[in-house]
Symmetry: C2
Subunit: 337 residues, 2 copies
């Protein structure tokens, strides 16, 4: 079923059918109706591939995700969902590309074969060669997270440094002197993963500024790693009375470890962090945390990308989220000796 068939049945030329479809040129009412009737009857829809070829636009955007082998965290997946949804709202389809290492076939295919109008890049590192690759191809792109030097590109990111600073400040206000940062996994931090790195920076700054003792530990992105991590932390640093964290996937395990150690939250121990609302509220007691606006971030990323596509010469824009810390039940004054 193609446009020629419709034209034949309606007794007109292909172009007339096309004009009825697009409305870009006036077609007399009787003709229009006759054509529309045929279209409706056969449930005809133009071939998206042919249209894309002609228009030079695929109405598709690429979303580069971390490979599934490194289990995606709930937050990453939530982000994928929010991007897909935001794209669907503006009639854009989303092509997924799992891309981990440097040159990945799927990634290359997407960026070099003009399968998409633009790309959203997740989980980027401070130095990220996928970014350089995209830059050199000239394909519009938006990153989630930013590189060390994000000038000249569009991105959305969370101000992990500032948020962790504020968490530490909040804990310090409550009298905590020995505070630990539970970061993301050691591999990620070592690989120059932005949030991990910036959380460190914000943590150090706040600890120094407030004259506190800070302990930094890395922790895998899952519950059992969280449990082991806090267990070790408590053993090595028994005087730590509070944790600040950006590792939401580890929260359930951290909770268990505190439980096992007989530490009641917030009476004996405080925890604050940066997390999607969902995770914060599932913590027991509910976590004092800066709630990441996941849905908004996905929608904004799509919006930024559409801008890049529409006006490539326009100056890039970005969005740095610094949501307020929602005071819940997991932080309290340090226990007197």
């Amino acid at each position: 079923m193609n446009i020629g068939e419709i034209a034949r049945r309606a007794g007109v030329s292909r172009s007339t059918v096309s004009y009825v479809l697009s409305g870009k040129k006036a077609v007399s009412e009787p003709t229009r109706q006759r054509i529309q009737a045929v279209i409706d009857e056969l449930d005809y829809r133009p071939n998206a591939t042919a249209r894309a070829l002609r228009e030079g636009r695929t109405h598709t955007l690429g979303l580069v995700i971390p490979p599934a082998t490194a289990r995606l965290t709930d937050m990453q997946l939530g982000f994928v969902a929010s991007v897909v949804e935001a794209a669907a709202r503006v009639d854009l389809d989303v092509l997924l590309s799992p891309s981990g290492g440097d040159h990945d076939r799927s990634f290359e295919r997407i960026v070099t074969s003009r399968r998409v109008d633009g790309v959203i890049l997740m989980e980027i590192r401070l130095e990220d060669d996928r970014v350089s690759r995209l830059r050199q191809t000239g394909l519009p792109f938006v990153t989630i997270g930013r590189t060390a030097d994000p000038s000249g590109m569009s991105w959305v990111d969370v101000d992990y440094a500032g948020l962790i600073s504020r968490c530490v400040g909040h804990l310090a206000d409550l009298g905590h002197q020995q505070i630990a940062l539970v970061n993301r996994s050691a591999e990620l931090v070592a690989a120059g993963y932005g949030p991990g790195h910036r959380a460190q920076v914000g943590f150090s700054a706040a600890v120094t500024e407030r004259g506190l003792t800070g302990v930094e530990v890395c922790c895998g992105d899952d519950a059992s790693a969280g449990e082991a991590c806090v267990e070790q932390l408590l053993a090595a640093h028994p005087d730590v009375t509070a944790i600040a964290t950006i590792n939401e996937a580890a929260l359930p395990g951290m909770q268990r470890a505190l439980d096992t150690a007989g530490l009641a939250v917030p009476r004996d121990f405080s925890v604050a962090g940066v997390a999607a609302r969902h995770w914060a509220e599932d913590f027991r007691p509910a976590l004092t945390a800066a709630d990441l606006p996941m849905l908004e971030m996905g929608a904004d990323a799509v919006a930024l990308l559409m801008e890049c596509i529409a006006t490539p010469q326009a100056p890039p824009r970005h969005q740095l989220y610094s949501p307020p810390i929602s005071l819940r039940a997991s932080t309290g004054p340090v226990r007197g000796r």
Copy 2:
């Protein structure tokens, strides 16, 4: 940059370049090398859209997921990741379509505009009009889960009925007489969601066969729903000593509720279920459960779909998973009075 440009620079015709690219026809070695050099130099890759138009294949498959508004469960998302990964291994791209209600623009676009070579449909119901829609279009598709009458189509599914039966059997062997089924959400079950429905069936059958008392409750797909659900369950049916569940997302909450009620697992209370390994191992104590082979399911779905695409007239195939129950630490003999 297109094939004509390569041809011009190499001083040959476009067809010759095409043959070098595809290898479908012999090209003399010197010419081949000259052309290849130009291709390498300019890092040329054929336009996927043009190729798709000509070949009538997009090398893309559609994955229809539940809309993000209804937060996707970890399992669903894990499945998405496994499909994407499996597809990437065979050089297929995956186009995501969030589709909830009956006629969704994104779904329609994908199935009627020939954007994809085939579709994988997630989260289908016993009666699912997306299935009917796909059937009438003739687009190859594979479903995750099966409709009431799955004849004539390819699918992969988990034998929830059988697995829940075996869970109940295991609990009965341990002496439990009052067993509850914690199902998926009431809306899903009411909407004719296969796993929910079949879990009910398997549960009833096993309960009857063993002469037990069974209680069925529905439960939202998240931790807090699980907590509330078990809380109510314990209040309404204080003599229940064991739970069988297919609702993995609710597990953390169920755990909390048992905790709060002062019930030690497995001493005072047993829990068994069907869950991805990851969830089972995060339960405390580790959950006795039939471990869902998520990665395998995704890979098999892709493989089945490729078969459908390659030989549309071939008889449809399916895969029913019935993984063994891994005995962990959450089930034990019923406590003597």
